[in-house]
């Protein structure tokens, strides 16, 4: 019997591209290329370019990049909202800026480690270690109290009512819905396996499934499974442009004008 295998899905799932190690890396490179101030990012422009870049780099199937695209579009929408003049206003970009700076700082450490590692690699350590005739072992320093303390640690670590670690994260259905909308705006048709990366946490997979069902109920998309055990296909049900990416285009036009 021939089993249906979605070969195209497996190969098209290009998560890691050599030049970018993640969405923050891509975003930083955009900010550098555009020579914009990291503390005053023109979100509309950067968001549009981000979506464009992940499309051209075929990264638009990686959930992490989609999450970032959804986040940028959300920030853009928040910036468009009218704000009360008097109230203290928190810049919706602040959290993103903090994460970008933190990431950039880490990249700096990476460069440093890379240099040091390369320096160390250019020296060899002693490799020849003559076989010791029956290695004498030092007496073991271990008391019964230490052993019992270890038992206690193990018991405390596992003695919760069920043996599994409770997943400490709530489901994020709204977040998943945003990712699905962005993905459908980019592709109009997608496979369930595209939306659920293999390395995702259970809560993310569940959020995604609930988000799909929710959107199907709202009539925004259709969920179909062409054959038993086949891959589930998701198609955009709305013939009209999907609401999320549309503002990007409009907004850019006004920005350019």
């Amino acid at each position: 019997m021939t089993v249906y295998t979605p070969v195209d899905t497996a190969t098209s799932f290009a998560v890691e591209l050599p030049q970018f190690s993640g969405p923050l890396d891509l975003l930083l490179s955009l900010i550098r290329d555009e020579q914009v101030d990291i503390y005053d990012i023109p979100i509309a422009r950067i968001a549009e370019q981000f979506v464009e870049r992940i499309r051209t780099l075929a990264l638009n199937e990686a959930a992490e990049y989609l999450e970032m695209a959804a986040r940028l579009l959300r920030i853009k929408a928040q910036l468009l909202l009218p704000t009360g003049q008097q109230e203290p206003w928190e810049d919706p970009r602040a959290e993103l800026v903090r994460r970008l700076l933190e990431y950039q700082q880490m990249r700096e450490v990476v460069d440093l480690l890379e240099r040091r590692g390369e320096e160390r690699r250019s020296h060899f350590a002693r490799a020849y270690l003559p076989a010791q005739p029956a290695p004498v072992q030092a007496p073991l320093a271990l008391s019964l109290v230490e052993l019992l303390a270890a038992v206690d640690r193990v018991l405390r670590a596992v003695s919760r009512p069920d043996m599994h670690d409770v997943v400490p994260r709530a489901l994020d259905v709204p977040g998943a819905i945003e990712i699905i909308r962005v993905m459908l705006a980019l592709r109009a048709r997608a496979l369930l396996s595209d939306m659920i990366a293999a390395s995702r946490e259970p809560w993310q997979v569940l959020s995604m499934l609930l988000g799909l069902l929710e959107l199907a109920k709202l009539g925004e998309l259709r969920v179909e499974q062409p054959r038993p055990f086949g891959n589930v296909e998701i198609t955009s049900a709305a013939p009209a442009p999907v609401p999320v990416p549309a503002p990007v285009v409009r907004d850019t036009a006004s920005e350019a004008a």
């Binding site: 190690s21 700082q105 990249r107 250019s122 060899f124 490799a127 003559p130 670590a157």
Partner: protein, 183 residues
């Protein structure tokens, strides 16, 4: 060379890893710390001045004899030794975060990197570069990771403090928009 310097050399030659100053001191328990330091200096200078193929380096809280960099290519070409593989970009990013934020959980690392780290932690752990140093507070009591002496050896660092402090990095985390960043 003095007898103590010769003894140190013999011990350092017999080890593939750095030997800590305490372990060196145990070689000749009657010597003063000053005599030990002098013997280490003597050995290092002997290698440098006499022009040896090896040198003495201070690494991971101890001392290690390593070949000089200028001979690495010839040794590798003759296939007498091979350089270890480079760490992947993902592994380096993860190590950088752990080095500065230890103890730190997997979720916190992923938050900073912006991507799931998949098998990276496992392979860093297998290479001995990181270790589980405890469990975090809070729900699920996540495993917390930290760097090991092997990490210092891998990057030829004397100790963790040799890495620049976070506020000494070019991109120190400043708060130019204090109101919005002070969450």
């Amino acid at each position: 060379m003095t007898p103590l310097a010769k003894l140190l050399e013999a011990a350092l030659f017999a080890s593939a890893r750095p030997i800590t100053t305490e372990e060196l001191a145990a070689l000749s328990p009657h010597e003063s710390p000053a005599a030990l330091a002098a013997a280490i200096d003597e050995l290092r200078e002997h290698y440098d001045v006499e022009g040896h193929g090896v040198e003495l380096q201070e690494i991971a809280g101890g001392w290690q004899i390593l070949t000089r960099a200028e001979y690495t290519e010839a040794i590798e070409r003759a296939q007498l030794a091979a350089r270890p593989q480079r760490l992947s970009a993902a592994a380096l990013e993860t190590l950088a975060i752990i080095a500065y934020r230890q103890p730190i959980s997997r979720a916190e690392i992923e938050e900073i990197r912006g991507v799931a780290i998949g098998g990276v932690l496992k392979s860093l752990h297998e290479r001995g570069l990181i270790d589980v140093v405890g469990r975090g507070e809070g729900l699920g009591r996540p495993l917390m990771y930290g760097t090991t002496p092997v990490f210092l050896e891998h990057f030829a660092l004397r100790h963790l403090e040799e890495l620049p402090r976070a506020d000494e990095l070019a991109i120190a985390l400043r708060a130019p928009v204090p109101a919005s960043l002070s969450e």
